[in-house]
Each structure stands twice: as C-alpha cells, then as structure tokens.
C-alpha cells in the first residue's frame, strides 16, 4: 500500500465541501464534536467499498429531510417532485462523488483506483448505531471500526464514516 500521507480530517472536509457545494449548492461546515442522528430519526444510510488502491469503505448517514431537499434542487427542472427512487439515487450519487474525492486525494497521482457500487437504504427508525465492515452491505451494527466525521448541512447533521486501509492516511501515519 502506497497511500500518500495526508491529514484525513482535512481530506474528508474538503471532499464534503466540494460535493455538497458542487452538487447541492449548499455549504457543509465541519463539526469538531458531533453525533449521529438521534434514535428514531428517518435517515438514509449509504456505503460503498473502496477496492483500489487500498481496501476500505466510505459510508454516510444523511437525514431524509436533507436528502429530499438536495434532490428537490437537483430535480428542479422537473415539474413534479422527485420520487423516492430519485431521492435514493441522489444519496447514492452524493456518496459516489464524495468517495471518489476522498480516495483520489489520499491515493498517489499514479495509482489506479476503483470503487464499488453504492448501497443505499432508507431507515425509518434509526437506531443510532454505526455502519461497520467492508463488504458488509447495509447494516446498523457496531462497534465502530472506522473514523467518523460530522458536518452541518442545511441545519442537519451529515455523518461520514471511513473504514479500512485508507484510514492509514489519517494524520500522516503509514
């Protein structure tokens, strides 16, 4: 594994800002201290595996209200409100873009990298637990095995979880 030594906190913050400002036209502010949405919330949970240049997984927890607001913006050309399928697809596309930016920033310029397909699930009663495990699919389970970053987007909390070997870029460690 030849990942560059970057500050992962900075990498994730930059990627989140670029994704949400670019696609959703909204600011994303990092939270030094944060927490997952409260139990019982309606959220989207989405994750994708990082296949190359190092194994890992990037996941997000996004409140349904925020996902709907972003989808409304993107689909504003349409006369009708976005369907549930469109909102789910929006979450997947946000994650795909975000993961690409994170892995692209962490990997050396010459490295080929590959991402898996986003897996997205709507959870009507979030249990407040953490996604974990590369290749585990969509699940709420603990304990936390990765590093979680929290952001405020349109008054809602976005959680980004990074797991696996790509974490070794964190704080410049091998």
């Amino acid at each position: 594994m030849n990942l560059e030594k970057y500050d992962l906190t900075q990498v994730v913050s930059t990627a989140v800002s670029a994704t949400f400002e670019g696609m959703a036209f909204t600011d994303a502010e990092p939270l030094g201290e944060g927490s997952f949405p409260p139990a019982g919330s309606e959220v989207f949970l989405a994750g994708l595996d990082v296949i190359k240049p190092a194994g890992g997984r990037v996941s997000i927890v996004l409140p349904v209200r925020l996902a709907r607001e972003i989808a409304d913006n993107i689909y504003s050309i349409n006369e009708n409100a976005p369907t549930e399928e469109m909102i789910t697809d929006t979450v997947a596309e946000l994650l795909n873009t975000l993961a690409g930016l994170i892995v692209g920033a962490v990997a050396p310029d010459t490295a080929a990298f590959a991402l898996g397909l986003p897996e997205t699930s709507r959870i009507d009663r979030w249990q407040g637990a953490v996604v974990s495990g590369q290749g585990s699919g969509i699940a709420q389970k603990g304990p936390e095995t990765g590093k979680t970053f929290f952001f405020t987007v349109s008054g809602e909390t976005l959680s980004v979880i990074v797991e696996g070997d790509i974490l070794s870029a964190r704080d410049g460690r091998d």
Binding site: M23, I74, Y75, T97, G100, G104, A111, A112, L115
Partner: protein, 127 residues
C-alpha cells in the same frame, strides 16, 4: 437544435449534468438520457449527436468500452465526448484521451468547467 446524449446509470447524475449544461449555455438542446454505453451508441447511430457526456462506470457497457467502440467506428469518431467520473487517475485519463475524449472531468463538475471545455468546440458553429 443541439442533440446531447447523457450517459450515466444514475438519473441524478444525468439530471445534474443537464442542469450544468443548461447553465453553461446549452439551453434549448435536445437531451437524450441513457443508462449505459451501449444505449449511448444506439442513440448516436439512430439520431446522431452533437455531444456525448458519459460516466465511466456503468453496467452493460462502461465508458471505456464505449470510447473504444466509438473510436473504431468511422461514422462516430467526430462526435465530441466528455467523460465525467468519480474514479479518475492519470493512466485512465490518458487512455480515454487517446481514444478521442475531448476531456475527462472529475465529479462534481460545474457549469463553469463545462463551459470552459465545450466553449471552444461550439463557439464557431454557435448553439
């Protein structure tokens, strides 16, 4: 009227790129949305295209295979193609450029980036 093919398996990505293109000045164009490279080839063959904007990772036929098929077909080689991807690297970009891509852009694209890339191609002939 310009005929623009948008190839991406995500309907959100297609809609977002369409928005960006309209803001970049491609208003009034006919947008044809398809979910993979095979459907993009069929759309070009059936109705022509002034521009193709394609994702790289798609089911059925991905963006690289689409570019290979397009490069191998004399009828299609002149159609400008912009590849937009979340999984880019220099080697892949070089391969796509050698296959005739006008540009390889990293997600998320912006109207300004698209205008910059497409401006020189479409300025002479107008919208």
């Amino acid at each position: 009227m310009k005929r623009i093919i948008l190839a991406d398996d995500s309907c959100t990505a297609r809609m977002f790129i369409r928005q960006c293109l309209e803001i970049a000045g491609f208003t009034g164009a006919e947008f044809v949305e398809v979910a993979d490279g095979k459907a993009a080839l069929e759309a070009i063959r059936s109705g022509g295209a002034d521009l193709v904007v394609t994702d790289l990772t798609m089911p059925v036929m991905d963006g690289t295979e689409f570019m290979k098929r397009k490069a191998a077909s004399p009828r299609l080689t002149d159609t400008p193609v912009v590849v937009i991807t979340s999984a880019n690297n220099p080697a892949k970009e070089k391969e796509l450029m050698e296959l005739g891509a006008l540009a390889v852009l990293k997600k998320p694209v912006t109207p300004a980036i698209l205008a910059e890339v497409l401006g020189p191609v479409f300025t002479e002939e107008g919208q």
